[in-house]
């Protein structure tokens, strides 16, 4: 994985982590409008980043959730490699 790909993946991880944190917070505070607005904002940002990544490097998600050619699903590196 080159530096550019790694950097984009790190950006995705950061943005996704914000969403995970907000998701857990909203689980116990579903009425918090500010948190929900933040979640929406970050989830849109996440979708943009994922779209950008997948156009360059192939799918991040399986089972049809990345509208991307699946050819590199098999041969691209797995996270433990």
């Amino acid at each position: 994985m080159d530096a550019k790909q790694h950097a984009l993946l790190m950006k995705i991880s950061e943005c996704e982590f914000v969403c995970v944190e907000l998701n857990l917070y909203i689980d116990t505070h579903p009425g918090d409008k500010a948190a929900r607005a933040d979640y929406l904002c970050y989830s849109q940002k996440l979708a943009d980043l994922i779209g950008k990544y997948e156009a360059l490097y192939g799918p991040l998600l399986g089972f049809g959730h990345s509208p991307t050619d699946m050819g590199c699903w098999v041969c691209s590196a797995w996270p433990w490699q």
Partner: protein, 198 residues
């Protein structure tokens, strides 16, 4: 990482209590050949799988098994939902009820709790794939036993789907075994066949 999708892979809608089937379904929820065992088995074995297609297969079938495990949990939950104490007793679930009430605990129909001893990870791709092929066949036959044991169409329908998936998984693992055997046949020394891509 994993992301939860808030839906079942295949619909489960059991509309009246069937605690007898709830009890039997624990075999596929947390027994030795259960969906949970299958998922943990494949997701554990994928690290040492030396070939790209087989690695992807273990990852993706392992993931699908967790979706099946969720279907089983849903089926057990719905089969126990609304059951009276006398129905629970008649179904032989009184021991279970004492400790778990309507919780969906990780045990087999006899109450034996789930254990990691149900799965193996030898680090040997041929040995692991043989275990996986056997596991799929054992799960298939367990589904057939379950289907024989009920005439509840709301239970049979998802069971038929799950049985069919075992057949497909067996097919894919069979292809994986052929890929690995071919790879190792080519290599002079088998362990060196830790090759890369197809």
């Amino acid at each position: 990482m994993w992301i939860y999708e808030k839906k079942l892979q295949y619909p489960v809608r059991i509309t009246s209590p069937d605690p007898r089937m709830a009890r039997l379904l624990f075999a596929q929820y947390a027994g030795p050949d259960s969906e949970l065992s299958a998922g943990l088995r494949y997701l554990t074995q994928r690290y040492s799988m030396p070939e790209a297609r087989c690695r992807a297969t273990l990852n993706d079938i392992g993931t699908e098994e967790l979706a099946h495990w969720e279907m089983l949990g849903t089926m057990i939950h719905q089969c126990m939902r609304g059951a009276s104490i006398s129905e629970i007793k008649a179904a032989g679930l009184d021991n279970y009820f004492t400790m778990h009430d309507s919780g969906v605990y990780l045990s087999n129909p006899s109450g034996v709790p789930f254990t990691a001893a149900y799965v193996q990870c030898t680090g040997d791709p041929i040995a692991d794939l043989h275990e996986d092929l056997a596991a799929e066949q054992k799960a298939r036959t367990t589904y057939e036993h379950l289907i024989q044991l009920t005439d509840n169409p709301e239970v049979i329908d998802p069971l038929r789907f799950l049985r069919q998936r075992e057949v497909v998984h067996f097919q894919r693992f069979g292809e994986c075994l052929m890929i690995i055997q071919e790879l190792m046949g080519k290599a002079k020394c088998a362990p060196e066949a830790r090759c890369a891509n197809p």
